[in-house]
């Protein structure tokens, strides 16, 4: 039979990545680097929404899902903040400007910046590298300031050295009107004259009013205590969004790994409203 | 297969050599300028007993046409007993490869001491000749690696 041409109808499969060139590397902390990625011919690899992720791959080494930390409002590039913690990230950390990787995505859902969050007062709560996905939302919100109410950002880390994007926080966020930034670190440090204490405790200390919608991201243990604190403070579950992290391979909800209940975290997540999480079987 | 193709056929051969005897034997072959074909590439291991059957299969997987393991003569192992274990392991492995139909000339163990540069070179010449006569390894390789 003749070769048919019907396949021309298909766009490139979502599993096929694009080549990305690393155009800038910032050392955020001793073990976190932020990589700026462009298409080889310049420009962005793809459009995305805040909270979405992409699969970053070092061919032959490994592949991993990372949240896109740059805001969609950035027209030039995408950024990933990556913490060194395994074979892949070790490899990525050894790369230099000009090196190429492959990227596929964007995958997953995003924070509902154009729907539920619109017009709301926003409270961002992040711990450590958990700022990465929230940074995308924060910058999106700051770039569309008129669409949102107050913005409070509570960000904590193990130590002053482990706070990522500190330059941007201090030079942009803190200087933007209507944005309050609260920084904290876990333990006393000489160089640090700011607040000391765990994020959930600081949260209660500040005592935010419940007229806000909270976006929470950080290590699982922090999320757990932050949620408890928020509930204690009178927030309802419908007012809180967070992200889940499970093992992912395909990124499109088909390979089965991130299936939990009837959800696929890579496709239906990673962003969940807390009342949705409650409906999932306890396997995360 | 015609004879011409056999003559132009350049096999890929991996030689695992123990550090103490055979690698030194290979060094001696070198310093004595005793030539053998460049098809042979040596991997240094501390002892013949370090060679895992997985290494040998992996070599074949990735396209090797022959694999040879060289160690100290039995009784002369730097670690006293390593080559005795290697001898049993390789005997069984080679027997299994033979059993599943892989030509038994593709694998070999030879004991070469640090003083046997001549033997090292002669063994390699002989082994390369043997592999050339057997031709390309088609029974034990991953198709994806064929160029």
């Amino acid at each position: 039979m003749d070769t048919c041409t019907c396949n021309k109808n298909y766009t490139l499969d979502t599993l096929i990545p694009q080549v990305g060139v690393i155009t800038d590397i910032r050392e955020e902390t001793p073990d976190v680097k932020t990589f700026r990625v462009n298409a080889p011919e310049g420009g962005k690899l793809f459009e995305h929404m805040p909270g979405q992720c992409a699969m970053v791959c070092a061919p032959g080494i490994s592949e991993g899902m990372f949240s896109i930390t740059s805001s969609p409002t950035n027209r030039e590039f995408q950024e990933f903040s990556i913490k060194r913690c395994g074979v892949l990230t070790e490899y990525l950390h050894s790369l230099q400007v000009g090196d190429e990787i492959t990227v596929r995505g964007p995958y997953g859902n995003h924070f509902p910046v154009e729907t539920e969050l619109k017009g709301k007062n926003l409270l961002f709560i992040a711990g450590g590298i958990g700022l990465a996905p929230l940074r995308s939302v924060i910058n999106y919100v700051l770039d569309n300031r008129e669409n949102y109410g107050t913005v409070d950002i509570l960000y904590g880390s193990r130590s002053a050295d482990d706070l990522v994007q500190l330059k941007e926080i201090q030079e942009v966020w803190m200087k933007t009107e209507g944005v309050n930034v609260y920084l904290t670190i876990d333990r006393e440090q000489e160089v640090w004259d700011g607040h000391v204490g765990f994020v959930p405790n600081y949260l209660k200390e500040v005592g935010f009013s419940t007229d806000k919608t909270a976006l929470v991201c950080g290590p699982p243990i922090m999320i757990k205590f932050v949620l408890a604190a928020l509930m204690e403070m009178g927030f309802s579950k419908e007012q809180v969004y967070t992200t889940l992290e499970l093992r992912m391979k395909c990124g499109i909800g088909k390979c089965g790994r991130c299936n939990i209940g009837s959800k696929y975290v890579c496709k239906d997540g990673p962003v969940f409203r807390c009342d949705e999480i409650d409906e999932l079987p306890n396997e995360y | 297969m015609s004879i011409e193709t056999n003559e132009t056929f350049r096999p890929k051969i991996v030689a695992f050599c123990c550090n103490w005897c055979s690698y030194a034997g290979a060094d001696l072959a070198g310093s004595s300028r005793l030539s053998y074909p460049a098809d042979v590439k040596i991997i240094r291991v501390p002892c013949s007993c370090r060679v895992n059957p997985m290494f040998i299969l992996r070599a074949f997987e990735k396209g090797a046409d022959g694999v040879i393991l060289c160690g100290c003569h039995p009784g002369d192992c730097h670690y006293s007993t390593g080559n005795y274990y290697a001898r049993r392991r390789m005997t069984l492995l080679f027997s299994m490869l033979d059993y599943i139909g892989v030509e038994n000339g593709r694998t070999r163990v030879e004991w070469v001491s640090a003083a046997e540069g001549v033997k090292f070179s002669a063994t390699m010449n002989e082994f390369v000749e043997k592999i050339r006569s057997l031709g390309k390894n088609v029974r034990l390789g991953d198709l994806r690696c064929r160029s």
């Binding site: 080494i61 070790e90 490899y91 050894s94 790369l95 230099q96 | 890929k12 991996v14 550090n19 103490w20 005897c21 690698y23 030194a24 290979a26 060094d27 072959a29 070198g30 310093s31 300028r33 005793l34 030539s35 053998y36 460049a38 590439k41 040596i42 991997i43 240094r44 291991v45 501390p46 002892c47 007993c49 370090r50 060679v51 895992n52 059957p53 997985m54 290494f55 992996r58 070599a59 990735k62 396209g63 090797a64 100290c72 003569h73 009784g75 002369d76 192992c77 730097h78 670690y79 006293s80 007993t81 390593g82 274990y85 392991r89 001491s113 640090a114 003083a115 046997e116 070179s121 690696c145």
Partner: protein, 662 residues
């Protein structure tokens, strides 16, 4: 992934003549991970090493590949260079493009291609290298010398003089070794006993030296700096402390039919005996095989005559366990058995003897009290024939492939001494070559020919046949005159090849020291480390390493002593960091690895692990890094792959395989 620097050495023209070094650099520069590549005339030179250091600093290298000569040559050099520049020395790998490439291939294109592949393999490996840190182990400040001949004695004295305790273990009842059996020594002709005995006495009197005669090494465990050795002191049946060495027991002993080992079986000795008059210690032993008391149950003469009450028939073998930091092997040699040389009629005629037997015959304390006479009839010989190279330089497997080195000289000595003492005896020497390199050696040989009229014939003896008249018919060919010779001789002396003491094989196995196909112990490097065994902490002294004469032996004995002293002088040793280690999450605790470990380095303990959220108590293998020598036997025995070897990990070796097969 590492930031790798690749350095390709020209080695003058040694590499560069056959490998296109620049091309290798150009290709390798493109490899993933390689951030620096350069070539240089001599990488091992100071300038070359500085290049490595500079690149480490400037490019922030985390891994180094040097394409050069064998790692056995300069791995340490480059590792040290990297270490000085602040890099872990184990982040350096060598691609051997000289011995394994440029020196054996002629075609430049082919050699260059191979060099690239070898470099890629090294890059692939270094990508997976991890910094390693050697551990420390202590050094027991005591040396063991195995063998109490001149080599062992000299080494012991030198080490003891440096202030360290030394034990000598000698298998026979007395120290002294082969040298004590010799009559005169070449090329000075001084009396062997006269120069040896004072050394023996000095050793026995030295406060730092303990001598175990009639003893053997039974078991060796441990490793450099910390060997534990079991020494079997065979039952002497004589109390060493009580015996006064008066000798009455030997005189009175009714069993006098035992062949004297010292006299090479040419005479008999009593069942209770000291091997020779100057024996040290001067304490007899009872040869239980020939002793009536032991064999028949009755006799007991020696006990009766011993005033000191030193005879102890109940004595048992005793095991002494001692710790040592260094071990010197000085097990010496023996002459080969002549079973393969029937044509020389050694077993058929008493008048065909070995040179060592001639030594005993010529010696005043020997079986003939120093008179040269035929052993068959006691008559003085008129015609003597010496045959050289019996079993030496042999092309087939009847004898030894090597030259025994000492025969030419001692034969000249024998010929000269005979012609001097018995001018009417004709001496003919059949030789292949006469080899006389050495101080005053050739002069000595020429004196034998020119001043003493020894008849040297270049030729091979085909047959020695005993004649009905009691003489020996020697058939030979004269290679220079190209004629056949038939002559009758009264005695024929065979320069039998020497070979390492047969016990050395057992000892080498215990020490995990390697030996070559001729049973000579292998040196760590033929030129640069001639007195060290590849096994750390084991040193070689005397003929056990290769044929040599007395001055060479003594010189090597001193060298071995210096090496041992160098070791004993250290307080701590750095251990090889390339040891096995077990991944606790993969370990089954099945004991298979421990079963193949030659060093007993693996033990088991029950420990709690957290396996991705599962917490449980598991039986786990634990490697003692001080004991582990890094052979890797356990890594293959382990089915789950929990055991791996640092520096030669599974993934490193597989990466090399991949790179080569690519």
């Amino acid at each position: 992934m590492q930031r790798i620097g690749v350095f390709v050495c020209h080695c003058g023209s040694n590499i560069a003549a056959t490998v296109d070094v620049e091309k290798v650099v150009e290709i390798i520069r493109q490899e993933p991970g390689v951030v620096h590549a350069e070539d240089y005339q001599y990488m091992c030179s100071e300038v070359g090493q500085a290049k490595i250091a500079d690149a480490i600093h400037e490019k922030g290298l985390t891994g180094i590949v040097v394409c050069s000569c064998s790692p056995r040559m300069h791995e340490t050099t480059f590792r040290k260079a990297a270490e000085r520049a602040g890099l872990n020395p184990y982040m350096v790998e060598i691609a051997n493009i000289r011995e394994h490439c440029s020196w054996i291939h002629k075609d430049v294109e082919e050699a260059t291609k191979k060099a690239v592949i070898l470099a890629r393999a090294a890059i692939a490996k270094v990508n997976l290298n991890a910094p390693l840190k050697p551990g420390e182990s202590r050094v027991t400040k005591r040396a063991l010398i195995i063998g109490g001949g001149i080599a062992g004695i000299q080494t012991a004295l030198d080490i003891a003089d440096a202030g360290y305790e030394v034990d000598i273990v000698e298998k026979t009842p007395s120290i002294g070794g082969r040298m004590s059996q010799l009559d005169k020594t070449f090329p000075t002709l001084d009396c062997s006993a006269c120069i040896l005995t004072p050394k023996m006495v000095e050793a026995s009197a030295h406060e730092k030296i303990t001598i175990y005669t009639y003893s053997e090494v039974e078991k060796v465990t441990g490793f450099v700096g910390d060997f534990t050795v079991d020494i079997r002191k065979k039952a002497r049946s004589v109390d060493m402390d009580k015996c006064t060495g008066c000798g009455v027991c030997q005189e009175k002993c009714p069993s006098k039919k035992a062949p004297s080992e010292f006299n090479r079986g040419l005479s008999n000795r009593s069942a209770i005996y000291t091997p020779f008059a100057q024996a040290i210690p001067n304490v007899p032993v009872i040869d239980r095989e020939h002793c009536l008391k032991f064999q028949k149950g009755k006799c007991g003469v020696c006990a009766k005559v011993c005033q000191a009450g030193a005879i102890d028939y109940e004595q048992k073998d005793e095991i002494v366990t001692e710790k040592y930091g260094a071990i010197v092997v000085a097990t010496g040699f023996d002459v080969i058995k002549l079973d393969n040389y029937d044509e020389y009629a050694y077993s058929q005629s008493k008048d065909v003897i070995t040179s060592l037997e001639l030594e005993r015959i010529m010696n005043a304390a020997g079986p003939t009290k120093g008179h040269l006479e035929r052993l068959s009839d006691g008559k003085a010989p008129r015609e003597m024939v010496f045959i050289q190279c019996v079993g030496s330089r042999c092309a087939d497997d009847r004898g030894k492939s090597y030259c025994s080195k000492i025969c030419c000289m001692y034969t000249a000595k024998h010929a000269m001494l005979i012609r001097d003492k018995y001018p009417d005896v004709n001496v003919t020497v059949f030789y292949i070559d006469v080899r006389t390199p050495g101080k005053n050696f050739d002069e000595f040989y020429r004196r034998a020919v020119e001043d003493f009229g020894v008849n040297y014939i270049k030729g091979q003896v085909g047959k020695v046949a005993p004649q009905p008249n009691g003489r020996l018919l020697v058939q030979a060919s004269d290679l220079l005159d190209n004629r056949q010779i038939k002559m009758e001789a009264d005695m024929v002396v065979l320069a039998a090849a020497i070979e390492p003491n047969p016990d050395v094989r057992k000892i080498a196995t215990m020490l995990t020291a390697s030996i070559d196909t001729n049973n000579f112990l292998t040196e760590a490097h033929a030129k640069l480390r001639p007195v060290e065994s590849p096994t750390a902490g084991v040193f070689l002294s005397g003929v056990c390493q290769g044929p040599k004469d007395i001055p060479e032996t003594v010189a090597q004995a001193g060298a071995a002593a210096v090496k041992a002293i160098g070791l004993l002088a250290k307080d701590k040793l750095l251990t090889n960091p390339c040891t096995a280690h077990s991944d606790e999450l993969l370990c089954n605790g099945c004991s298979t690895c421990a079963n193949v470990c030659p060093y007993g380095a693996i033990t088991y303990e029950v420990r709690q692990v957290n396996d991705h959220g599962i917490r449980e108590d598991r039986r786990l293998a634990v490697v003692n890094e001080a004991l582990c020598q890094g052979c890797g036997a356990c890594t293959v025995a382990c089915p789950s792959g929990a055991m791996d070897l640092k520096g030669f990990s599974n993934r490193q070796i597989l990466a090399e395989v991949d790179a080569i097969c690519q």
